[in-house]
Amino acid sequence: MKTKPVKRRVAAPPCRPAKLWQLRLYVTDSTPKSLTAFSNLKKICEKQLKGCYRITVIDLVKHPHLAKGDQILAIPTVVRKLPKPVRTIIGNLSDTEHVLVGLDLCAAD
């Protein structure tokens, strides 16, 4: 698990910039919860949004001032910055169904 913001873009199939999903994952250190959350999120994104997403991982221990902007209380938290509206999911994302609802991906299915 990387603690610096990680940018991941999968090229194919190419998406228009408007369709690009920007996700932020807030974690603290490399706790098991954080690691699980990251792998779960990646799995879901790979399946649902292949090539159209970008996950930024933010470690609040290193950047505590960033917690205020997205009103982070719970860890781990995923914030969907784009597409609008902003959506928030908290937890280690083990419940995929809830993640899909949270990210508004159910309709895509």
Partner: protein
């Protein structure tokens, strides 16, 4: 751990405390909140939890040099700044100077989806960041219970809160956590379970349409604290709790006496007036001149150069000045010289506590030596009787502690038993003057007497109380066989007495003349008698002489005849004739 200004450090056994700087609260808690521990402040809506918490931080930052973090869960930073600005707290300025950190935490439940396990490490990170960035010693969480509304998993929340309080303790910050009052518990979500060191309960009650806020320290582990409910209020400069019990009966006592402004009244009070720093009750039925006596007292104080504060709950200052002018009391120059200050307010303007606080504030600001409250009975309508007694007790104690002489006027409805109706209050007073109407002969007259005056030999006499263009005068009421007479009856009685005296004088003069005359007559008689006697004596002498001469002549004749008869009769004749010349003498 530093504890700036903590009072309790003197005794090693007591808990270190963190002074709040909130008026009265430190007295109740014996020095402040437990240092380095969380304190729970709970209460219903609108009872001042947030303000108490904010004041704790602001005073900490301004008075004790302890920066603070305010974590708001309900109000945004801007709202908070605006809300406490009304109390004169400049949050924005403190934030700029890095004395205060505001953090608005907000989660919208509808925007949140839960999936799997999580913790509140984000909150910890934020709090930690805020504390470390300004070196905060104080933290406020207002109010944590908002979290219960935003986060669905209560089990996680509870575990995390327990961890949070532990963490706050480890961090060594003095924290205030506010929570909404629950139905059966102290807080809606049972936060008191986690915060076990100090719990303060606030409450806002409305009795007889007048709202009073109360504060109670429910629990304070490891220290003595006031357990009563203490009224508190939110004024222009924050919260002030007014503890009754924090004021003891140990004020300094002065032997100095001050004049009442009415010489005859001074004479009734052992000749020298009231004691400085005593409390005086002036009871009277309507229109007996209570305000006049009070104004006289005020004027006398001002003339001595003492500042006097006149609380008027019935008349406006200008009206008092005008009315007093009519009896020759000129108060206006005293007001202009700044010696006399009026504070007028309608009793129903606000609750009793607010009145008390305003009065305290005025007194603290003006620093008077004499305070007049006219009348205290109007304030009584603003609260229940026990509240009023508590208030008067606090007021008397506060004023006595400052050696301020206080005159309370008290209006009694005619027909009531005066002594009874004021009994509750009178025990707090050192002196009690009574003004009363006496009806009779188709007129009403005022009388004054001293009911009690602690520590001085006071007169037991009733004095008639006269109000004229020149002020007040006390005159002896006529007390005689027919009772106490006042007014024209007293004047009539005086005239009657005068006539009696005159008549007596005249009678005496007549008597004297008679005696003189008698003496003259007697003397005349005596001289008559004497002349009689003298005449008689002269007559007697003349007769005696005649008798003597006759006897002698007789004797001589007898001797001559004896000689003529016989010789032996000579001897007898000579012995007989011897005393005869003696009788002539």
């Amino acid at each position: 751990m530093k504890n700036n200004g903590s009072k309790s450090t003197s005794s090693a056994t007591s808990l270190p405390k963190c002074p709040t700087g909130i008026q009265g609260l430190d007295e109740i808690t014996g020095g402040g909140l437990p240092l380095g521990r969380p304190t729970l402040v709970c209460g219903g809506a609108g009872c001042g939890k947030t303000l108490l918490a904010a004041e704790f931080l602001v005073r900490g930052a301004m008075q004790f040099g302890e920066p603070g973090v305010f974590m708001a869960f309900e109000e945004t930073e801007a709202e908070l700044k605006a809300n406490v600005a009304s109390l004169g707290f400049d949050l924005a300025g403190l934030v700029r100077r890095k004395k205060l950190m505001l953090d608005y935490v907000h989660i919208e439940r509808s925007e949140i989806q839960e999936s799997g396990e999580y913790d509140l490490e984000g909150l910890f990170v934020r709090l930690n960041h805020a504390i470390d960035s300004i070196g905060a010693k104080r933290v406020v969480l207002d109010s944590l219970e908002a979290l219960f509304a935003s986060l669905p998993n209560e089990a996680i929340l509870r575990a995390e809160l327990r961890r949070l309080f532990r963490w706050l303790k480890d961090k060594g910050v003095t924290a205030v956590i506010t929570a909404e009052r629950g139905r059966e518990q102290l807080t809606r979500h049972g936060l008191e379970e986690y915060v076990s060191d100090c719990v303060i309960l606030l409450d806002h009650r409305v009795t007889d349409q007048i709202a009073t806020r109360n504060l109670r320290v429910v629990k304070y582990r490891g220290t003595l604290h006031g357990t009563n409910e203490f009224p508190f209020l939110i004024g222009d400069d924050g919260i002030s709790v007014l503890p009754i019990t924090s004021l003891g009966l140990n004020h300094k006592i002065s032997g100095e006496r001050i004049a009442t402004g009415i010489p005859r009244l001074d004479a009734m009070l052992g000749g020298r007036g009231f004691f400085r720093g005593s409390s005086i009750l002036l009871t009277g039925t309507p229109g007996t001149g209570k305000t006049i006596v009070a104004a006289n007292f005020a004027q006398a104080a001002c003339r001595r150069g003492e500042r006097t504060l006149f609380f008027s709950f019935e008349e406006s200052p200008n009206q008092i000045i005008r009315n007093m002018h009519s009896i020759g009391l000129r108060l206006e120059p005293l007001v202009k010289r700044g010696l006399l200050r009026f504070h007028a307010a309608r009793p129903s303007l606000y609750g009793l506590e607010m009145h008390l606080a305003t009065m305290f504030k005025e007194i603290a600001e003006f620093q008077p030596r004499v305070v007049i409250i006219d009348p205290i009975t109007s304030l009584m309508d603003a609260g229940t009787s026990s509240e009023c007694r508590g208030m008067v007790t606090r007021l008397v104690d506060y004023l006595k502690a400052g050696q301020v002489t206080t005159l309370f006027t008290s209006l009694t409805q005619s027909g009531h038993a005066l002594q009874q109706s004021e009994a509750a209050m009178s025990s707090l007073m050192d002196s009690w003057l009574l003004l009363q109407d006496v009806e009779g002969n188709g007129e009403r007259n005022r009388v004054l007497y001293v009911l009690k005056a602690r520590g001085m030999a006071h007169s037991n006499q009733i004095r008639e109380f006269l109000i004229s263009d020149h002020g007040i005068d006390l005159v002896d009421a006529y007390i005689g066989a027919s009772g106490v007479l006042t007014g024209s009856a007293r004047v009539a009685q005086g005239a009657l007495e005068k006539a009696v005296v005159l008549a007596n004088q005249q009678e005496a003069a007549t008597l004297k003349r008679e005696v003189e005359r008698k003496r003259g007559a007697l003397e005349q008689k005596i001289s008559g008698l004497r002349s009689d006697y003298e005449t008689e004596a002269a007559e007697l002498r003349r007769i005696a002489e005649q008798v003597g001469t006759r006897t002698f002549v007789l004797g001589t004749e007898r001797t001559a005849s004896g000689i003529l008869r016989q010789a032996d009769i000579k001897v007898a004749a000579s012995t007989q004739s011897k005393p005869k010349p003696g009788r002539k003498i």
